[in-house]
Symmetry: C2
Subunit: 648 residues, 2 copies
């Protein structure tokens, strides 16, 4: 009969004995001073990428060169630049310029700014970024969502039609604050703040914002003159259907034609990535074609509104227009903060995406400084908030851009436009600009990602929906705030209600795993083995106390099949407890006391470095880590204690 007894699925006695002989001690980590502790913490918090590691052990001269290259990445790739790279960059630069010019004009109108400010913003910032930025694919310029937010927030205080100069001053000042805020985040190495915008939040937010932006285009697409100043879904649709008498069939016809043309070219480029240039040149082609049509048919006299006369010449200085005091200061800082964070998020995400594709690294904090400085310089040279735009960067990448020189080429092309070609835009119809914006923002509605999120994590999808509906029904900032709030709440809830699992032995091994997940894992008579799967801190000690005692209560009365007594030891596997605080240490002592009253022993398994250290330091907790109540693995604990149980 004996051989049979060893196949009951429970760990075999001989196996136990063997392991007991090799039982290992849990040791606290080597002692470190409080100063070292704080130093390490600060280093991991603010310098997780260890930016100085390349400097170590280098001669002083080399350190200087590395330092300059760190501040000005252009010095890194500049010296090795050659004609072959230049050829690629020229092609890419011209391609994105053809996209940047109509988009610049359109986005400036979205922000209620004069169209030319959009072109100014595509001239200076790309030059600054080319010197300071570390991404090779980012195409810099104004972007739709930041333009939308900037315009809508400033319109709360000042009407762009009633007081255009003040509005312009506010726009440049908000840009300055956005840049200051971005650069400070990078400089103070607080870049991780943008990490709190999760992918789900962004997908929902972008989709909502894209719809809001598209709705705003109904003004130019339908030719409505008296359009609402509100942004909400309901208000815009009400306004649209209240002014049906203003709808202009000529405008609608023209809009539909160009919208179809742009969407078809977009579709072609999506299907055949090597035909990326089809959608890249389509906007400029539409602008040219529609302008010719207007001029040919004198359509401006038939209800089709056109841009009108545009100024000529390069960016005028605007530092004297920045306002650092007065009643609007609060609004300006808030606008700067929100547009700054949003445009930073887009810029960094775009940079990281393409860096991963070409496997180089972009340093988030360095990028923030680059984007921030670019906006500060921009605010002094008649530019509004700019960042790395997703659609244009994708075109830049597909067009074969090799370095930031493509930004310089684009900038030069915009310069030529500003100097010589501005009169050509006089008769460009607004309806085409609307169609260009709609086509651009449609790409922000990312249904495949939303579907993937739905499949993997329902809670993340809820966050997405909240961001989406919040943006549509409340406001752009409101939706964002709600989504971030829910995401953080989720993290806090996970901390407040950490998972506890009962572990069982996988027969024939000394591996112990969650009995819910591993159906073949079986309990060991006399033992209740629980694993706690979260840091233990003040926010969850009360819960853990109740939950662990409930586990004990539920299993206390259970008789094991052989009719032996119930549980005798409660093992807490602390492998997954990454940290503990004073409340957590008290919790363990409280549980020990509560178990003592029930005549059960508490055994801790594998407390990791920090946890072990704190248990060591707390006076009363010494009993927790004595002989027979602390083991390195569950297997060793069960083996050793089973022997003790038998012999007693």
């Amino acid at each position: 009969m004996e051989p049979k007894a060893t196949t009951t699925g429970l760990p075999q006695d001989t196996h136990f004995m063997e392991i007991t002989l090799e039982a290992h001690q849990v040791v606290p980590p080597p002692p470190t001073s409080t100063f070292d502790h704080v130093k390490n913490r600060v280093k991991e918090t603010f310098f997780p990428d260890d930016p100085l590691r390349h400097f170590k052990g280098q001669p002083v001269r080399k350190k200087w060169i590395l330092g300059m290259q760190y501040v000005f990445p252009i010095l890194q790739w500049g010296p090795n630049y050659n004609l072959k790279l230049l050829r690629s960059d020229i092609i890419a630069g011209l391609t994105i310029a053809s996209l940047a010019i109509p988009q610049g004009i359109s986005y400036a109108k979205l922000a209620s700014l004069p169209p030319i400010v959009g072109l100014y913003s595509s001239f200076v910032p790309p030059l600054v970024y080319a010197v300071l930025g570390s991404s090779r694919d980012l195409a810099v310029g104004p972007v739709s969502i930041a333009s939308l937010i900037l315009g809508s927030m400033l319109r709360q205080a000042v009407s762009p039609s009633a007081d255009p100069v003040l509005f312009l001053q506010l726009a440049f000042s908000a840009t300055f604050f956005a840049g200051l805020f971005q650069a400070s985040l990078g400089f103070l190495r607080l870049g991780f703040i943008i990490d709190f915008l999760s992918k789900a939040t962004l997908v929902g937010f972008m989709a909502g914002a894209a719809i809001i932006v598209s709705l705003q285009q109904l003004k130019s697409l339908l030719g409505i003159i008296h359009f609402t100043k509100e942004m909400g879904l309901v208000q815009v649709l009400t306004s649209v259907f209240k002014h049906t008498n203003e709808w202009s069939w000529q405008t609608i016809l023209m809009g539909l034609c160009f919208l179809c043309f742009l969407l078809v070219t977009r579709h072609i480029s999506l299907r055949r990535p090597n035909l990326f240039w089809v959608s890249a040149v389509a906007p400029l082609a539409s602008v040219i074609l529609s302008t010719i049509l207007v001029v040919a048919f004198k359509a401006q006299n038939h209800g089709i509104s056109v841009i009108g006369k545009l100024q000529q010449g390069l960016n005028p200085p605007s530092w004297n227009m920045l306002r650092f005091h007065g009643s609007h200061l609060g609004l300006l800082m808030k606008t700067g903060l929100i547009t700054g964070i949003i445009s930073l998020t887009e810029g960094i995400a775009v940079g990281r995406t393409f860096a991963a594709l070409k496997s180089y690294q972009v340093d988030g904090n360095k990028e923030m400084i680059a984007i921030g400085l670019m906006n500060i310089v921009g605010s002094a040279t008649s530019c509004y908030v700019t960042t790395g735009a997703f659609s244009r960067s994708a075109v830049n990448h597909n067009a074969g851009a090799k370095t930031a020189v493509s930004n310089i080429i684009m900038s030069m092309t915009v310069m030529v436009t500003l100097l010589f070609l501005m009169p050509l835009f006089r008769y460009t119809p607004n309806v085409v600009l609307g169609a260009i914006i709609v086509t651009a923002v449609i790409g922000l509605i990312d249904i495949p990602s939303a579907h993937a999120i739905w499949k993997v994590d329902k809670f993340d999808f809820l966050v997405l929906v909240c961001a989406f509906l919040g943006v549509l029904l409340i406001s752009v900032q409101g939706g964002l705030a709600i989504a971030v709030g829910i995401s953080i709440l989720k993290i806090l809830m996970q901390i407040t209600r950490p998972k506890t699992a009962m572990l069982g032995n996988i027969p024939g091994t000394d591996i112990y795993r969650n009995t819910d997940q591993y159906k073949d894992a079986v309990g060991v008579p006399g033992f209740l083995i629980l694993s706690i799967e979260a840091p233990i801190n003040f926010a969850n000690t009360n819960y853990l106390n109740e939950r662990i005692l409930r586990w004990v209560e539920e299993h206390e009365s259970e008789q094991d099949p052989k009719g032996l007594s119930g549980i005798r030891y409660v093992l807490l596997d602390l492998s997954a407890v990454s940290s503990i605080d004073t409340s957590g240490v008290s919790l363990l002592m409280d549980i020990r006391k509560a178990l003592d009253k029930k005549d059960l022993d508490l055994v801790l398994v594998n407390p990791i470095g920090e946890v072990m250290e704190k248990l060591n330091k707390a006076d009363g907790a010494k009993v927790l880590i004595g002989q027979d109540s602390l083991f390195l693995t569950v297997g060793e604990a069960v083996a050793s204690l089973s022997c003790a149980m038998k012999s007693s």
Copy 2:
């Protein structure tokens, strides 16, 4: 030479082979529907104690009885009540009454309310609690900190001397809101909100509040007439030394004598717990003695201020004084919220402390409902905010209280006082009340706990200091808000910067542990084994990406001593990753791609239930969990992959 090769400290090949044979599969948890998922989540979040578990499988009649007992705990212990228990409860009840009467009068003055309101509040609420409460040791009545906050917040809007009726109305209304808020928290099972007040926060906050309360007593202790209405340390001390001409030596002398007497009795009771009654009756003895002294020497004519004439009779109804509209509503709700949370925290903490001593359970959410209802009833019967007071409950416990009947006895004693003994307090000097308050709040300064926190966790100590200084220098609510903010920030920081550790093999076993903590753990050539010690989510994916690639970079170039190639496999031990979201799944895929480019293989080890489930669901993540890239333990992974490495 061969036997020597096996003692190099590295796992032995034969050992590997043996384990490979038993390699185990990682299985996803059994599939559950989204509904079950949500149900489980809701249950763990709101019903972690599974309050209905005693109801399961009971006949209907029994269920009814259990239900009534659940709502009215008095039905649970009432039927078994006997004379022996009553004797203990009478002794305890009389003891706490002797403490409650002088403290009630003093605390009401602290809240700028008529002294008699303090006695009213010691009459009705204890009766309500005796029926609804589940703690057997809680002594209910007004407490110092809630009185302080209530008074100081309401004084911002209304002066208690200029408009005493309005002030009283506001106090009762704030009490109503506090009760409503407390009961709602319990009813909605949101009790965990008070868990966010960590022990460190409370120790710092209590100490700061004790000093603020003591400073306020300088008015009566020094006999100052024109005292500041501010609460801050600086303002009070300025006011005290600006009015030195008002200091009255008779008052100071009397104050010092009684303060010494009270402190000595307190010291005696602390040293000899069986002499608890010495400090328990000292306040009443002081009141009686000082009143006799005043009457004997006609001291009220010699600069000693006395309470004055007090009303007689039981609590008048006050529901018609509750204000639910008007300009003060916002302040009332805020005051109710803050005093409600603070008094709840004290009441629940006290209840839990003594429940743990006598090993019974108090249900936090049920207690909240009891305390909340008690305050709602109180607000309609001329009582202000009450809760379980720490000092009185300790006396109650020491005096041998067995059930909530001791509260009923106390309440009856207060009733007798209200009906017949009020004229006796007419000549009680205010200075004695001040001395009673100072002696009571000194116990809130918990230096041993502060020292223990300093020893175990420096960051917790920082939270403590912030709460302490915030209360002293900013405001009571401000200090509390800062401390809670910092505590939550700490949790978020832990999430944003999770720990990663390199694991090594403990020679002669297949245990793998952190090489920093276990100095004898050695790396395995060809493998980089990392463990991630936190949930992976949007807030830390960027950090983890950078950090893991930095680990790889640092070890890539390392040659192992035998001159073999560098690392070949990167193992991520996910045992401690308690959850993952969509961003986390993307992170793992990104890391895989990045490692692919370096010609390294990514291997996952022991993803627990939820993580495995999500990896299974995500389309692109299937490659992550294929053969040879997913193992149940690090040991099995190393064994199996070593074989593969050798054979290739």
